[in-house]
Amino acid sequence: MKKPPLTAVAALFVVASVGGCAGLAPPREPVSDRAVVASYADLAARQYAAALADARSLADAVDTLVASPSQATLAAARRAWLAARESYGVTEAHRFYNGPIDGVDPATGEEGPEALLNSWPVNEAHLDYVAGRPDAGRIADAGFAISAEAIAAENQVSDEADVTTGYHAVEFLLWGQDFSADGPGVRPATDYATAPHAGRRGAYLKAVTARLIDDLTYVAGEWAPGRHNYRARFEARPAREALADVLSAQATLAGFELASERIAVPLDSGDQEDEHSCFSDNTHRDFVRNLDGIAAVWRGAGGPGLRDRWPADDAEMLAVDAALARAEALAGEVEDHGPVDTILASDAGSAGRDALNGLSDVLIEVAEAVVELGAASGLEVVIGGE
């Protein structure tokens, strides 16, 4: 039969359509809103489960430190804290739309635990001794009965700065105040052995770590599949609405929380220690992991990401791609310049300051691009934040 030429041409198309040839890849079909939302919910569940697991490891290391305090066990607890921050950092992409982390739970009327988990800055003297005030804080106050409930009940009650619990309270208890432009805090292991109030300090540290686990257990539970929980309600919503919320969260995390709150403010305030993780000097990793979180939501991880909802050649979607890639590159550059307090202590016009300023600007572009994308797609994307 006289087919071969046509068959040859057809074969060429077949080869092209599986992307083997010179740039003739066909357009990828956009994924449905519902599929994107389901994939996102799955991601949130996995990420919170990972954060919970790392918090449990942190608690183990804390138990070891308190049971046998030494430089080695303190160092191990610090490493466990740093590791726990890596898995927590990506979950910040799930804030800002009244999800389980920060919304009001309709069943209990209680608010999500974000403020209890991640508030900063910590009012150090409210917690423990500080330079010049050896008997400061709840730890030295024998009248304060140490328990996870009592500590949480006190969080930011009469002053927003009186943060008593969460990752940064643990951080302060592991590292102490940071007075150096060259390194983090240098709390000695003897603070848990022979120093005044060592016993209470250990008890406080264990209590706040236990509270971290309780709070993360709650949030992970609300995202777990197959239950009557937030996830079930989230997946039952009109997918477009859920999608708009998740996009708003990315825009808020990038443009408000990161660009303004965590970068612009420290750059403008004149305070070298005005950084998120100031005791451990780990803020550069906070930036990287927050961006990793946005990227995971945007590109997907183990399933479709938000971007897959649009055709591959959608201009506004590609603009978000481009801005996010620039932000990731700059976050890496900031990391190269060393801890954030070193950057903050450097003079105006230094390379580190320029990189940090640049990162703030690009994060704003990310936020603007996400809002543009929403507007072009008829989705209500709003930048929130307080």
Partner: protein, 463 residues
């Protein structure tokens, strides 16, 4: 008893019903903060930035927020731009009293220090007009930097007031505080000292209030009660340092501050001891030589809060959003909205205001919003009087407080204490304390059935 003329009542009710509808309503419905409304019922409801703020302006908001939350420290300190606390002060930061941008509360008893409340002081001046106390100034400082004794402290003792008895015989207990100033460290106060204890006000939505044209506020004033409705709203006139002119007072319990910038600067100086351009003298009087001798935190501009820092702080206050009404479609809320109008509450708690065509920031201009205040001074009767005049405000007058956010106060601030000294334990008690010009409205409220009163309270709780 006086009721609104029928047509006016119908129109006002329709207006309020339009207001009581929430998001997603037909156009023309007024949202709590106009375009500055946020749907937030969490403890962060009062701290959100205006949604329309361009993302590039967010930096100003967050820096202002940072300043609002700054714990000022004693000078000299390692961070030169953020030192200069005191030497006398009440709290070390704005947010310490205005926690989560919300309202303060009174102490529960005399041994408990004031955490979000302060006591204003004055004495009669030469011409009879009040002036600051010669030693203690116009505010008692109950804290001081290390090495200095605080001026004194306030001990608050709660006493029973005459209970209010509804026509059906139900009684509601009321209480009032007795304020004793004790442990005074710079001599006695003197017998003719006037005192006024006040809790911190919530700070959201203020940019909108600032942007209402003066003429609109004045238009609602009726100082001689020409219309004979028993309500004589008056304006306060106060000195505006930036304008170097007399201006309408809008902010504070007696409307004694003309602009947010001046309100913030005055509070920084009086409450935290932080000097700025027009409040440059330091938070002590000439008699307090112990305080004067201590170091301060003055920087390049010769003050502790720079002009730029004050700009940022003001920007923050101007661009805080207003939380949306909740449960607007609830039948009790709708009935309560009608009751609110029928009782005449909206004569002072005006439901709708508009900002002018231009304002400090684009996002504030041309907004129609629902603060439930006319920003005017009203005589609230002897029961609520503090006896301490302020500008043109008499010892019996108070500025109508806005009612927006009322129902979220418990979530944000953890309590429901209302009125200037927090004596009202809930909204019902607050209403029952209304006297003077408001007595008629209070009586109309009291004359409703128990179910109708509950509806009005439900409406208030939805705000």
């Amino acid at each position: 008893m006086r009721y609104l003329p029928g047509g006016l009542l119908a129109a006002a009710t329709a207006g309020l019903l339009a207001l009581s509808l929430g998001a997603g309503d037909p156009p023309g419905v007024v949202r709590a903060g106009g375009k500055l409304t946020v749907d937030d019922n969490t403890s962060k409801a009062f701290g959100q930035h205006a949604p329309g703020l361009p993302v590039r302006e967010l930096r100003k908001f967050t820096v202002g927020n940072r300043l609002f939350n700054t714990n000022w420290v004693t000078a000299p300190a390692s961070v030169r731009s953020l030192d200069g606390l005191g030497p006398f002060f009440n709290r070390v930061s704005c947010s310490a009293c205005h926690v989560r941008d919300g309202r303060g509360r009174p102490p529960v008893g005399p041994a408990v220090p004031m955490m979000s409340m302060l006591v204003r002081l004055s004495v009669p001046g030469l011409d009879g007009k009040p002036v600051p106390h010669p030693i203690y100034g116009d505010q008692l400082s109950d804290r001081a930097v290390e090495g200095l004794q605080p001026e004194g402290r306030a001990a608050v003792t709660w006493e029973d007031a005459e209970p209010f008895v509804y026509p059906d015989g139900t009684a509601v207990s009321l209480r009032r505080p007795r304020i004793d100033l004790v442990d005074l460290t710079h001599g006695p106060l003197g017998p003719d000292t006037m005192m006024s204890a006040r809790v911190a006000n919530a700070v959201f939505g203020l940019g909108l209030l600032e942007a209402v044209p003066e003429a609109d506020i004045v238009a609602r004033a009726d100082p001689d009660d020409a219309d004979g409705d028993g309500i004589s709203g008056r304006v306060n006139r106060v000195w505006d340092h930036d304008a170097q002119a007399w201006a309408l007072g809008r902010f504070g319990w007696k409307a004694n501050q003309p602009t947010l910038r001046q309100q913030a600067a005055s509070a920084m100086a009086g409450d935290v001891g932080i000097t700025s351009e027009h409040f440059a003298g330091g938070n002590f009087t000439a008699a307090q030589t112990d305080a004067a001798a201590l170091p301060d935190g003055r920087d390049a501009e010769g003050v502790e809060l720079s002009s730029k820092q004050l700009d940022r702080l003001t920007f923050y206050l101007q661009t805080l959003a207003v939380p949306a009404q909740r449960d607007a479609d609830d039948p009790a809320v709708r009935r309560g909205a009608q009751g609110f109008v029928a009782a005449g509450c909206n004569a002072c708690h005006a439901a709708v205001m508009r900002t002018g065509p231009s304002a400090a920031h684009d996002v504030l201009a041309g907004q129609t919003f629902a603060p439930y205040t006319d920003l005017l001074l009203h005589d609230m009767g002897p029961g609520l009087a503090d006896g301490r005049p302020d500008g043109r405000a008499s010892g019996r007058e108070w500025r109508t407080p806005p009612l927006w956010g009322l129902g979220l106060q418990e979530r944000v601030s953890g309590h429901t204490f209302l009125l200037h000294d927090g004596r009202a334990r809930n909204a019902e008690e607050a209403v029952l304390w209304h006297g003077g010009e408001a007595a008629a409205a209070r009586d109309r409220f009291a004359g409703l059935t128990a179910g109708e009163r509950a509806d009005v309270l439900a409406f208030l709780g939805s705000l």
